[in-house]
Symmetry: C2
Subunit: 181 residues, 2 copies
DNA sequence: AATCCGATATATCATCTCGATATATATGGG
DNA sequence: CCCATATATATCGAGATGATATATCGGATT
């Protein structure tokens, strides 16, 4: 059976520790979010599928009158996870509205393009800060999650610098045309 | 009316030049693809919506017995495109299966993690080459599309280097544990 | 004590998106 | 003439998204 990356995020998370759907979402939001997001609409149906396939096992453990189901990985699930991890990665997708706008910016003033670049830069720097906030926690545990986090920090820092560079380029060439033309 | 980024890719493309749905797809595949992909399943329904909204206008211009519809942007469409371009970008998403696998790589051998990183690096270098191939064409026209293309080249080159760096780090620390532990 | 807010927990829904496939015609090479 | 490939449009199931619905719990405010 071929498992989707989405199935494997969930499998990987319950492998790290038994978790409820809610906890998976919360953990994903502060860890894998910046390179692989997960929504409730994916998590709950996928948990059912994985349980039916025998890769995870759910145990009802309500707190008070509030129902709750904690999922654990099974031996079969651990094996499927390893199979997936050993296969070469396939999906790589970037969806960047800022670059898209920049691409079409001949239709607007240069000021609009540079403002766009400043927003992009601010967003990347913002992400750097948010990732730096969780870094101490990740550093305490070390291992791959820490490396991936630092990769993310470096990436957004690089992107912020690249935006600043392009903005400077546009500013140094743009005005000439306005003055000379 | 709020236009989705998908609607605006199409609007932007028919603004550059009148095009058929097929041509939009072909053009997107070799230009915006690396930061914003578009599929037929998006393009054709969206063309209908945009035409109904009066932002583009389709003219039937069959070649021989094969029907064909070329879309042009209207004045209203050009204005909507500018409105969208002037608003700050919102969507930024990365979906990187390689980083996801790396994140969970405690479950497999270090060799599997480094192999994963090599694959990631190769893919990024591959993309650099593919983008370099279309660079001369973009350089002839210049402007924003060229800048965006060069941004993409720099990005994938950076990512390839970052993967190589992390691989070297894993190789320098991994074996120690095998030997010493 | 009553109330309200936000966190916990699960579920669902319309809408959008993806990748594949279906259908049909045109073109050019063998 | 046939076949592969390119052009052109359309559609489908499966999956993803973001929002919202439902309900309980803990803690703070009034």
């Amino acid at each position: 059976m071929e498992l989707s990356p989405t199935a494997c995020v969930i499998l990987g998370m319950v492998n790290l520790a038994p978790r409820s759907g809610y906890e998976i979402k919360a953990f994903a939001d502060q860890s894998t979010r910046f390179f692989w997001a997960a929504s409730y609409g994916q998590i709950y149906p996928e948990l059912k599928r994985l349980e039916r396939a025998g890769l995870i096992e759910g145990t009802s453990s309500p707190q008070g009158g509030r129902k709750r189901k904690i999922f654990e990985i099974t031996a079969a699930g651990r094996e499927e996870l390893r199979v997936w991890l050993r296969q070469p990665p396939q999906t790589f997708e970037l969806r960047d509205e800022g670059l898209l706008k920049l691409f079409f910016s001949d239709a607007v003033d240069p000021e609009d393009a540079t403002r766009n670049l400043r927003t992009m830069r601010d967003e990347h720097l913002n992400t750097v800060e948010r990732l730096r906030e969780v870094e101490p926690m990740a550093a305490a545990k070390g291992g791959y999650p820490l490396r991936v986090l630092r990769f993310g920090i470096s990436y957004h820092q690089w992107a912020a610098d690249a935006c600043a560079e392009m903005e400077a380029e546009l500013l140094s060439r743009g005005p000439k045309q306005t003055v000379g033309g």
